[in-house]
């Protein structure tokens, strides 16, 4: 069995939220404040911790979402129960909400906050959708272990390791008899030490004054013994030490935080394996990237995947024993982890502000977009922070698309999963030139208002651009990216705005090299794809197209001097080639300039000018705010749209 779905109602930012989880590993990715921790908290409240003494989440008044009066309810739907598990969770069985042909187990908890004159709220439980819990012991066959972020692994390992080590040692030893034998042999070994002279001499020295102090009353004497040879004490006495290969092992307290953390997670995993007491243990790992460098993050993820895939019980297993499955739930804002996992295991969470119902009533009609911006802004409408959930597995990606995206989404590209806006470009040149172009677009924007107001608006536009990842798809395969970003799940999308910057494909030549066919119109093709296949809403995307590519579009009478300067730096010996550009008719100039990037060839103006290098040098020069440059209109249009800066200015 596994926790297949978490439903929350009125819980913090999870106001009416349903999250589908994966059988083995689910990775919750998303921006800060997106609601990741709330999901982890919900599971902690829904599922009992593995053992007493572990830090435990309790309900608080703050758990009630703003504007809700309660009760808060959290429901877990568990699927794929084995027959034996169905027996244990008999009272929680219910027809599956999605597939009536199957049964699932449903457990819920609820919390009603106390009225102002009382101090404690009311907690309730339900099983199988029926109120009350006839058998709490069955519910405890599902457990959770929570690994908090930035934990002090050194502290936990040196103080709390006794308990974990005891479990691991006991499981290695096997039964009670073996444990007794082990304790006996330990006792024998240390008894010898108790007879060593330093110990006996110390005893005599202490006993001398003790004897003279107590002989007048009831005479007392002392002896020295090592701790009771019980397995708990042995485990406590053992010290975890970490060693780098070839270097002397050192005490855990002197080892780096990152490695201490890995050791801690390894201990927890071993402990889970050793103590197979539950049908399902949900391992909640919050932000494992803390303290770990990228390679270690990927390795940790692999370890968690391996452990979750290793499901013990097969068909021949004893139905009387718990199944001991492990399911892992990770939250992260590390693109490293997002990139390392299969894309279908990602669940993207992002924050959304929802106007409060009361506010909607107050406001009455919606204001039209054309309203003059100078009208004094009313007090900002009170909004509720809610969490939108987009499980990638629910986006109807084909197997091929999933495979492609798992390969495409490297560390840089995974950044697109974290924010509401994304710019997709074909290659490096756009990636390099967009930041200075955006700066120019902002500078040339002339919003109404006094100087300070304008400065503030421009600052906001710059932040908007900086918070928008530019993702180079390294080619023209935009479709899988658009699908994951814009296809919806329950009305929610990973991205709110996607800007696609592409080129009209150069005209293709037929076999004999003479006849040409009309260029393939990528913009139309992508627009049709977004509208018909992805069903992305209008306004969520904009596709702009360089005709035929970026470089010719840079040509403008005001830009020529700068373009020549960069050319001269790269091809100092080819001034005659630039002459051809300079002499060309204005309408042919872009084409001739574009040819410079072509290969050296007979009858062509190509000098194999490197696009990336050219763009890099151009962007470096544009860093000077005094430098004037006319941004190609299609890029200016796209940039203004993504930054939401209106108004027109001469381009």
């Amino acid at each position: 069995m596994y926790l297949a779905r978490l439903e929350a109602s009125g819980f913090r930012s999870l106001r009416e939220t349903r999250i589908d989880l994966r059988p083995e590993v689910t990775i919750l990715v998303g921006e800060n404040n997106g609601g990741k921790t709330n999901v982890i908290d919900a599971v902690q409240l829904l599922v009992d911790p593995l053992e007493e003494g572990r830090a435990r989440r309790w309900w608080t008044r703050d758990d009630v979402a703003d504007g809700c009066s309660g009760p808060v309810t959290l429901t877990g739907v568990y699927r794929e129960l084995s027959p034996a598990e169905s027996g244990t969770h008999l009272h929680a069985l219910a027809p599956d909400p999605d597939w009536g042909v199957k049964r699932c187990a449903v457990y819920g908890v609820s919390y009603t906050p106390p009225p102002s004159n009382r101090r404690s709220g009311d907690r309730g439980r339900s099983a199988g959708g029926r109120e009350g819990d006839p058998e709490p012991a069955a519910r405890r066959m599902i457990r959770q272990v929570y690994l908090p972020p930035l934990r002090d692994a050194q502290q936990e390992l040196s103080s709390g390791a006794g308990q974990s080590l005891k479990l691991i040692l006991s499981s290695v030893l096997g039964d009670e008899k073996k444990i007794e034998e082990f304790e006996e042999s330990y006792a024998k070994a240390i008894q010898a030490f108790e007879q060593e002279p330093p110990v006996t001499v110390a005893v005599d020295r202490i006993n001398a004054p003790l004897g003279s102090l107590t002989e007048g009353a009831r005479a007392q004497a002392m002896s020295l013994r090592f701790a009771e040879p019980k397995i708990e004490a042995i485990a406590r006495a053992l010290r975890a030490r970490l060693n780098d290969e070839g270097i002397e092992a050192q005490d855990i307290t002197r080892s780096g935080l990152g490695y201490a953390n890995l050791l801690y997670i390894a201990t927890v995993l071993t402990e889970l394996e050793a103590a197979q007491e539950a049908d399902l243990t949900v391992l909640l790992v919050e932000e494992p990237e803390a303290h770990l460098h990228p390679q270690l993050q990927s390795l940790l993820l692999k370890l968690l995947y391996d452990r979750a895939a290793k499901q013990p019980s097969g068909p021949g297993a004893d139905p009387g024993r718990p199944s001991g499955r492990i399911q892992v739930l990770i939250t992260t804002h590390s693109p490293v982890l997002a990139a390392a996992a299969p894309v279908a295991d990602l669940v993207v969470l992002h924050a959304r502000d929802e106007p409060s119902p009361a506010q909607q009533v107050d406001d009455g009609v919606q204001r039209s977009e054309d309203d003059d911006q100078d009208v004094p802004v009313q007090a900002a409408p009170r909004a509720y922070r809610t969490t939108a959930v987009i499980p990638v597995a629910a986006l109807n990606l084909s197997a091929q698309e999933k495979a492609k995206l798992s390969r495409y989404l490297d560390v840089t590209k995974s950044a697109m999963l974290f924010g509401p806006r994304v710019i997709l470009v074909e290659g490096t040149a756009e990636t390099l030139l967009l930041p200075p172009f955006a700066e120019i677009a902002v500078r040339e924007w002339r919003p109404a208002g006094d100087k300070r107001h304008v400065a503030r608006l421009r600052g906001a536009a710059r932040s908007t651009f900086r918070g928008t990842p530019i993702v180079s798809v390294d080619g023209v395969d935009f479709k899988p990216f658009l699908k994951i970003l814009l296809s919806g799940h329950g009305g929610e999308r990973i991205a709110e705005k996607v800007l696609v910057i592409t080129d009209r494909d150069p005209k293709r030549r037929d076999g004999d090299g003479t006849a040409t066919r009309g260029g393939y119109n990528r913009k139309d093709s992508l627009t049709a794809y977004l509208r018909d296949d992805v069903e992305a809403p209008d306004g969520s995307y904009l596709i702009v197209e360089g005709d035929p590519t970026l470089e010719p579009q840079l040509v403008h009478s005001e830009n020529l001097a700068l373009l020549e300067k960069v050319f001269a730096e790269l091809r100092p010996g080819s001034a005659h080639r630039w002459e051809k550009v300079a002499q060309a008719d204005a309408d042919l100039q872009p084409l001739v300039f574009g040819e410079l990037f072509g290969p050296y060839a007979e009858g062509s103006n190509g000098v194999d000018l490197p696009k990336g290098e050219y763009a890099y040098r151009l962007s470096a020069l544009l860093a000077d705010p005094a430098q004037n440059f006319v941004v190609p209109p299609y890029l200016a249009e796209g940039l203004r749209w993504i930054m939401a800066i209106g108004g027109s200015h001469g381009v």
């Binding site: 169905s86 009272h91 009225p115 058998e135």
Partner: protein
């Protein structure tokens, strides 16, 4: 079927004058409520009037069924009112928690609640003189003599060739039961009540109850047995404030000793009476029809005050004729087809009915539209019980209680196989071997999953395979089964042909038919009248499978002077008052004339379903060509 649906809709519904009086009336109180009076609404409103904040004293809301208790919980929108110190639940649970359990001596073995004496098995130790299992005796309680009464139904047959007399057997049964109760601490609901009655007379216990509960509300009190009423009477005498809610016209458990007269012994002692006569559910026509069925004929009809009060739909008669000859009188050939015709009429009304209830007194007589019917677990024969359990387990839409029962059946069979020498209740045996209830269910459920499908394979084959699976099933380490050759799955008293399919033998019907899509917009529920209690629907069809059943009903309707006929009439009174707009009757065509005559004598307006008009010659021939399989869907055993 909705549960008092209209009220559920109206969370913010305003109580009427009489309802307001009932909500505010202080206890002790006797509240006589007509059908559709908004009883649950009043009880919940009364409870919601509890002041905000922690209370030391609570209110107990006692219902007759778990379902009615759930309905109260569902409607009560202040969750703290459903928790300590308040109580909502059935009378059995209340008695156990507040009148019995706290006062039990703390001695081993722990007290074990059982449904019937059959639960503890039938090994020789639990037989009277090694011959008759305790479950073959009937036990009751004589209030006047204050002692348990034993009977032996069908005594002559059971005691053929016995060396002892019936009287000896009866006293033997009494002694055995006493020892199981007093020494082994098993108890059924009868022992529970006897203990509760004794404690209810104890001033100390009464003081505790008065302190704990500000009010004890008993709903559907007309269904309380004499013993229940006696317990409540003792509580009332002891000053525990009671609110007794009842409708004497709806008393349908007379065969268990629940009569309006018995209830009267309690309510006559309660000073304050309130009567609710506004019916928010039924149309005035249905109220008028119901009034002709009251035991006190002089009583005037209830006032229809609800949404459908002015609905003018007349009673619909849908007689059926099972005859498949040229002489067949109607095109409706079975009660199930009648249900279809009735549902079609309900769906074509303006506005269309949202739900239909198909009711009958006996389980077997209930008409069904499709195969969604519930089957009952076979009463004997471990093989049939196991097959039933296995089929229930394979049906994800199965009733949850059926599933629980099915797992218990599998568990019992495993326990008897694993520990053949242990005696007593299966759960107690498992506990003695260190197997907790949760682990025991793991074994039971995985056994059900491993059994062959309950389908058209011959019953003999299925039993052979199932037996092998039980023998091979993983067992706890200390299980000590007897040699496998000694283990068999019983087939009970049923004669069966080894070639008969397991599905039929286990009482699951011949095969599964898909429900047709015709009635997608209308919810059709089929159940017995006793189970429909408290429910309601826009249209209600009442079925009589045999001429005898209808004639008994008509006889009772004409004259309800004897105990038997008055109970019959009350049962159908309950059925009729479930309906909001349309009432229908279906019965064998041979009694059509009598039915029509009776309704005419009462001036009740009715129509006959168009499908039941006499069949023309041509039509009859066409009808005959229909496949024979359509004839009748076999009833469930």
């Amino acid at each position: 079927m909705a549960y008092d649906g209209h009220e559920a809709d109206g969370m913010g519904m305003q109580p009427t004058g009489e309802q307001q009086t009932a909500i505010a009336a202080p206890s002790p109180l006797y509240l006589e409520a007509c059908p559709g009076a908004g009883k649950t609404f009043i009880l919940v409103e009364r409870h919601l009037a509890t002041p905000i904040g922690k209370q030391r004293q609570g209110r107990a809301l006692i219902s007759f069924t778990n379902r009615a208790a759930d309905e109260i919980r569902h409607r009560c929108h202040r969750p703290e009112l459903l928790e300590f110190p308040h109580f909502t639940g059935t009378l059995d649970t209340f008695l156990w928690h507040f009148l019995v359990r706290p006062f039990l001596p703390d001695t081993a073995p722990p007290w074990q609640r059982i449904m019937s004496w059959a639960d503890i098995g039938s090994s020789d130790a639990y037989k009277v003189f090694g011959r008759l299992p305790l479950a073959s005796f009937g036990f009751g309680y004589d209030l006047r003599r204050g002692e348990v009464v034993v009977t032996l139904p069908d005594a002559t047959a059971k005691l053929t060739n016995a060396t002892r007399t019936e009287a000896e057997f009866l006293s033997g049964a009494k002694a055995l039961r006493n020892s199981l109760w007093q020494q082994h601490h098993y108890f059924t609901s009868l022992e529970l009540r006897v203990m509760a009655l004794e404690n209810a007379t104890d001033p100390h216990v009464r003081t505790i109850l008065r302190s704990r509960f500000s009010e004890i509300v008993v709903d559907e009190a007309q269904d309380c047995t004499e013993l229940d009423i006696a317990i409540l009477g003792k509580l009332h005498e002891g000053g525990v404030p009671l609110v007794v809610v009842a409708d004497p016209n709806q008393a349908i458990y007379e065969y268990q000793g629940a009569t309006p007269a018995v209830m009267g012994t309690l309510t006559s002692k309660i000073g304050q009476h309130r009567r609710l006569t506004g019916n928010h559910r039924c149309s005035q026509r249905i109220c008028d029809l119901a009034a002709t069925m009251r035991s006190t004929k002089s009583a005037i009809a209830d006032r229809a005050t609800g949404q459908w009060s002015t609905d003018q739909s007349p009673v619909l008669l849908v007689p059926f004729d099972t005859n498949d000859t040229n002489s067949r009188k109607t095109r409706i050939r079975s009660k199930d087809e009648a249900a279809g015709a009735f549902a079609r009429r309900a769906a074509s009304m303006e506005p269309a009915c949202a739900d239909v209830l198909c009711l009958a007194w006996a389980h077997a007589a209930v008409p069904h539209l499709d195969q969604t019917r519930r089957s009952k677990a076979p009463a004997d024969g471990t093989a049939w019980m196991l097959a039933w359990a296995s089929a229930v387990h394979r049906n994800p839409g199965a009733d949850h209680q059926d599933l629980v029962d099915g797992v218990r059946i599998a568990q019992t069979i495993l326990v008897r196989f694993w520990y053949p020498n242990d005696q007593g209740h299966p759960e107690r045996i498992l506990t003695a071997h260190g197997v907790d209830a949760i682990t025991a269910r793991r074994y039971a459920f995985s056994l059900l999953a491993s059994l062959p499908d309950v389908d058209a394979r011959p019953a003999g084959d299925w039993i052979r395979d199932a037996r092998k699976r039980i023998i091979d099933h993983p067992a706890p380490s200390d299980a000590a089964p007897a040699p496998a050759r000694n283990f068999r799955l019983g087939t009970g008293s049923r004669d069966f042909d080894r070639g008969e399919t397991i599905a039929v033998a286990a009482g699951l019907g011949a095969g599964q038919q898909q429900p047709c899509g015709e009635f997608e917009d209308i919810s059709v529920t089929s159940t017995t009248i006793h189970k429909a209690k408290g429910g309601e629907a826009d249209a209600v069809l009442i079925a009589f499978a045999t001429p005898k059943a209808l004639r008994q009903f008509l006889a009772a309707w004409r004259d309800d002077s004897t105990t038997e006929t008055s109970e019959t009439l009350r049962v159908y009174y309950v059925a009729v008052t479930r309906g909001r707009r349309l009432i229908g009757f279906t019965y064998p065509y041979s009694c059509h004339g009598e039915m029509v005559k009776h309704l005419e004598s009462l001036n009740v307006e009715f129509t006959v379903a168009p499908e039941c008009e006499p069949v023309e010659q041509g039509r009859r021939q066409r009808a005959r060509r229909e496949p024979a399989g359509m004839e009748a869907i076999p009833g469930l055993g």
